[in-house]
């Protein structure tokens, strides 16, 4: 079975499908959504991140341990030369405070499943299971398929959380093992979509349409990002689109939050959505009412 790159396995996940779940985060994503709260999941390979406030000033363990001599520390913080670093992770291993941390590691499907199965009694009790998210899980199709087959062997309820930006052949491969798709939808207009995610949405919309013709186990998840996609025109277009593709299990609105903001600096990226704030409950209600008017089953998530 194929190994994959995973950047987190979160237990007691409550917002990624029914019941108590474990969510496996796949590393690598084709989109670059401005509001992304998991920026560490965007790039495909493992990377080293630094939490500056944790670093001990007089500690040089990382400098001494690096086999590629890629780290220097002349001031209070270490500097990693990206040209020399091959992300082997030795520095993170020796770092006492977890100031340096390895994000993403190669895992075997069995290894992931062993971790997931630890909470089996909780899934049984709550009707929960495993969720594969990311990043974009469909970017690692072999790994995803292996995991789904293993999950089904273990009688787990399975959820795949996807951006839809993948070849439809992957959907077809995994379809037999998926109990529920969480399918993210942001905008209908392809150009607007490109300007805030880096990609047009033609493939995403087409895949959703095709998927909905094969299964109704789809919850469409819409992040509500004030000024980006909460205008009435877009919302109505989305409602109309969802209406047009046939039955889906429901729509979940996810209010924008800034909890991922701090992570950007750690992965050496810039957070560009600085002026947007969390939508109020009234705002969320207004958005929901547009879908409700279209007779769609909508809920507000957290």
């Amino acid at each position: 079975m194929t190994d994959g790159i995973v950047f987190d396995i979160k237990r007691y996940a409550l917002h990624d499908g029914p019941g108590i779940r474990t969510t496996v985060f796949f590393k690598g994503c084709p989109l670059r959504c401005l509001w992304c709260h998991n920026p560490e999941g965007q790039r495909p390979g493992p990377e080293i991140i630094l939490r500056p406030q944790r670093c001990l000033e007089n500690c040089h363990r990382c400098v001494e341990a690096c086999p590629k001599l890629a780290i220097t520390k002349t001031g209070p913080l270490p500097h990693i030369n990206p040209a020399l670093c091959d992300c082997c992770g030795v520095c993170a291993e020796v770092c006492p405070t977890e100031a340096l941390e390895m994000v993403g590691r190669k895992m075997k499907p069995e290894e992931v499943m062993a971790e997931v199965m630890k909470d089996f009694p909780f899934y049984e009790e709550s009707g929960g299971g495993v969720t594969f998210s990311g990043g974009e899980p469909l970017l690692q199709p072999d790994f995803l398929e292996s995991l789904l087959i293993l999950a089904k062997k273990n009688n787990l309820h399975t959820v795949v959380d996807t951006s839809g930006q993948a070849s439809f052949s992957v959907f077809l491969r995994i379809l037999p093992y998926v109990d529920l798709f969480l399918y993210d939808l942001k905008l209908i207009d392809p150009e607007r979509h490109r300007s805030v995610t880096g990609q047009r949405n033609d493939l995403i919309l087409e895949n959703l349409k095709k998927l909905a013709s094969l299964t109704d186990k789809i919850v469409v998840r819409i992040p509500v990002i004030p000024t980006i996609n909460d205008d009435e025109a877009n919302l109505r277009q989305m409602a109309a689109f969802i209406k047009s593709i046939g039955r889906v299990a429901g729509i979940e609105l996810l209010p924008y939050h800034e909890l991922g903001k701090d992570k950007y600096a750690r992965v050496g990226m810039e957070y560009k959505l600085t002026t947007v704030t969390k939508p109020s409950p009234e705002e969320m209600e207004r958005v929901a009412s547009i879908f409700r008017e279209a007779n769609l089953n909508v809920s507000i998530g957290g």
């Binding site: 007691y12 001990l56 909890l259």
Partner: protein
């Protein structure tokens, strides 16, 4: 709540506890007058009890429905000089200490100086205990290896069953008479003691009836002067109730509550029993009266609610008796651990939840008092609706009710050899202690500091805090080549200190049995009357003694650290690690951080650490479980701390898990504060690796952010989490629903957070009343949040 209840509640919450010399003075008078040298201790105690109840002041507060106070007024707290006679210095400390103070006025000090101290000095149980204890016991006690529950408070730790709702004191007297008739002087060498004990029980039975009648008389007197016709009628009704109970079985809801309250006052007036005498399964006991009242129209839901609220306030009026020294540190709270049980199963095994269970939950939510404490028993048969209702109250963030696993409690009791029916009608009391209500003496004898024993082991028997050799010479740990050698040495030290503790217990239990019998408590607990034996001497049907293990998280993580770094990875030598601990990590924060961050920790569902937890549990269990007690009972283990993890922490140097010297230990069976990083399911899996069914109770605290429980779904998932813990045989779980941020604010601005109640260990308390180290400890607990 209505105006009357609001006023009584305010009064109870706002009145500061103060010391009343009433009981001490009356008791001293009695002992001064009574010097018949042939009088048995049991009869003498009984007559003293009667003297107290015949002469103490009677209080009926304005608007009260349930009457009777332990002292002359609400929050007036008596002392028990026959057990502990406070010195003037003690009184000064009580009066001036910043946390859990008791006001002591000049008059009280004078009474103490002139009457109480001169009479009792040299004659108290506390002094007798310390005189009798061996040098090694005292060394271990002073080093903070264990505490001693009975040095300032009498053994108690029992809960009432349903008998008072079926029988009046008249009936108890009939049972005493029958027991007397059954005495067999031809074959029973203990016949004299039994006669004396039965005589004592008869005296105390009469005494409580006299006490109730004094309340009736007072109510009548007040009624005759009362202008308000409604209050006049109430006072007349109170007089009628107090004339009827406790002499006769109660006829209705009101009488049932008042009856219990008189019994409660009797128990806490006779002695300052360690904790938790309480009505136990209140929703079960009161249900027939509730149903009958509703059916015949004599009771409404509103009236029942009001009476229950009035009853609740009475508990809050009685602060735990004042403690000083180590005992004050191990239980630094006004709470006296009256843990009301709701739900569970009936004696026939069927689900016991009824509409009164829900009504009492309403009362708990509305009253929001730290006393009485409350809990729900959840069995696999309990409907989710009941659990969810309880969680909705917990979500409001005052740590009540706590959640217990009925099915685990029953199995624990069965394993201890108790009958199935008794087990089903039992529950938990105090913090988390499982017991058979109305039929068991389950005495907690003291806390046991497991991390401290490891510290002694790592110093070959010497306490590095004092340089004194108090343990065994189990070898220089620098020469140990395997982890097993270390574990073996630790196991020998645990055995050694448990032996010392039990030697002490045997003497202390005998002192109470011999010198301070408790005929009133004996009257209430089966089978004291039938056996003609005192509660302190083995009269109860079941007798269990506990030594409560403390610091499971800290000890597990410390041993895991030693194993991981010294014996497995070998990245530090024992010598180097001991040097780090000796210096409290000074100058080597790097290594402390490695111990904190790069070492397996209990609470993460990690077999490396959790297997060590199991080893520690086994060592502790094997050292204690099954040993005989003086009462003919058995020693058992349980795992809970009250507030002793702060005191034990103060006595314990730096530990190998990266904990700095004198910081609090982990509490209960909870992971070390902040060491659990994989969320609540991982914590639960780890904690469930302890075999809870071989304990008499374990205490798990978890902290959730309010946001995690904001939605219906969040609440339902919490219910599923708890159900899973219980499926894995977890005994108890308790939640704080508050953010660390709020707690830090409360620390900074206590005046704004006077009503902030948090869960400490097996009880809730006002956050601002807690000591600073304890406040910090609660803040550091891992906060489970949504992401």
């Amino acid at each position: 709540m209505n105006e009357r209840i609001r006023r009584l509640r305010e009064q109870s919450v706002n009145t500061k506890p103060y010391i009343s010399p009433e009981r001490a003075l009356l008791l001293t008078q009695f002992y001064q007058q009574t010097n018949d040298p042939t009088m048995s201790p049991a009869v003498k105690r009984a007559l003293a009890f009667r003297y107290l109840l015949e002469n103490k002041e009677i209080w009926i507060g304005e608007g009260e429905l349930i009457v009777g106070e332990r002292g002359p007024a609400p929050k007036a707290t008596p002392t028990y000089p026959e057990v502990t006679c406070h010195s003037l210095q003690d009184l000064e400390i009580l009066n001036s200490r910043p946390k859990t103070p008791f006001i002591v006025d000049e008059k009280t000090k004078k009474v103490y100086q002139e009457v109480i101290i001169p009479f009792w000095r040299g004659k108290t149980i506390r002094e007798k205990i310390f005189t009798e204890m061996s040098a090694e016991w005292k060394d271990a006690y002073e080093a903070g290896i264990f505490t001693e529950f009975m040095e300032q408070r009498a053994p108690g730790h029992t809960v009432l069953d349903d008998k008072i709702y079926r029988k009046g004191f008249k009936d108890f007297k009939r049972e005493i008479e029958e027991s007397r008739r059954r005495l067999d002087p031809f074959h029973d060498p203990e016949v004299l003691q039994k006669k004396e004990e039965l005589k004592a029980m008869e005296i105390v039975a009469d005494a409580l009836v006299i006490y109730a009648h004094r309340h009736a008389a007072k109510a009548r007197e007040l009624a005759s002067k009362e202008k308000d016709p409604q209050r006049k009628a109430e006072l007349e009704r109170i007089a009628e109730v107090c004339t009827h109970v406790p002499e006769n079985p109660p006829r209705d809801f009101w009488e049932a509550l008042q009856y219990y309250w008189f019994v409660h006052l009797g128990v806490i007036t006779e002695l300052n029993t360690w904790d938790s005498f309480n009505p136990g399964r209140l929703d079960q006991h009161l249900y027939p009266f509730y149903r009958k009242g509703l059916e015949d129209g004599s009771l409404t839901e509103e009236k029942a609610r009001e009476l229950l609220q009035a009853f609740w306030i009475k508990f809050n009026n009685q602060p735990a008796p004042p403690k000083v020294g180590v005992t004050a540190e191990e239980s630094a709270t006004y709470t006296d651990f009256c843990l009301i049980n709701l739900g569970g199963v009936k004696p026939d095994g069927s689900d016991a939840v009824n509409e009164l269970s829900f009504l009492i939950l309403d009362v708990i939510e509305e009253m929001r008092l730290v006393q009485p404490s409350s809990m729900v028993q959840i069995s696999k048969k309990t409907p989710d609706e009941f659990l969810l209702r309880a969680l909705k109250i917990l979500k409001t963030g005052f740590g009540q009710p706590s959640i217990f696993n009925t099915d685990a409690i029953i199995q624990e009791m069965l394993r201890q050899g108790k009958s199935l029916e008794d087990a089903r009608s039992g529950g938990a009391s105090g913090c988390v202690e499982a017991g058979i209500f109305g039929k068991e003496a389950y005495i907690l004898t003291g806390y046991f500091n497991l991390p401290k024993v490891l510290e002694i082991t790592l110093h070959n028997g010497v306490d590095p805090e004092t340089g004194k050799k108090i343990g065994l010479e189990t070898g220089d740990p620098r020469r140990f080549t395997t982890f097993d050698e270390l574990i073996t040495a630790f196991q020998k030290q645990v055995q050694h200190f448990v032996d010392i503790k039990i030697c002490g217990n045997n003497i202390i239990e005998r002192i109470y049995a011999e010198y301070l019998p408790a005929p009133f408590l004996s009257l209430l607990i089966d089978d004291c009357i039938a056996k003609g034996k005192d509660y302190h001497a083995g009269g109860a049907r079941y007798n269990t003694s506990y030594i409560q293990g403390v610091g499971m998280g800290t000890i597990t993580d410390s041993l895991a650290s030693l194993r991981f770094h010294v014996f497995d990875k070998k990245d530090i030598s024992m010598d180097e690690l001991l040097a780090l601990l000796a210096k409290d990590f000074e100058g080597n924060e790097e290594w402390r951080q490695i111990l904190v961050n790069k070492t397996p920790k209990y609470g993460n569902d990690d077999e490396y650490a959790d297997s060590i937890l199991r080893q520690v549990f086994e060592i502790y269990y094997q050292a204690i479980n099954g040993r005989p007690t003086l009462k003919g009972g058995t020693y058992r283990v349980n795992l809970l701390p009250t507030t002793v993890h702060v005191y034990f922490g103060k006595k314990t140097g730096a530990t190998a898990d990266g904990r700095k010297a004198h910081e609090p230990l982990s509490e209960g069976v909870s992971p070390v504060q902040g060491a659990d990083r994989k969320g609540p399911t991982a914590v639960i899996k780890s904690v469930a690796k302890i075999d809870h069914l071989r304990t008499g109770g374990t205490l798990l605290n978890q902290k959730f952010t309010p946001q995690l429980l904001a939605s219906e779904e969040g609440l339902r998932n919490l219910a599923r989490l708890i159900r899973t813990y219980f499926r894995l045989d977890g005994h108890h779980i308790q939640l704080n629903v508050v953010t660390a941020e709020t707690l830090r604010e409360a620390q900074k601005h206590p005046e704004k957070y006077r009503d902030l109640i948090v869960r400490v260990a097996g009880f809730s308390d006002y956050f601002v009343d807690l000591s600073e180290p304890l406040q910090n400890e609660i803040i550091r607990r891992t906060e489970h949040q949504s992401f």
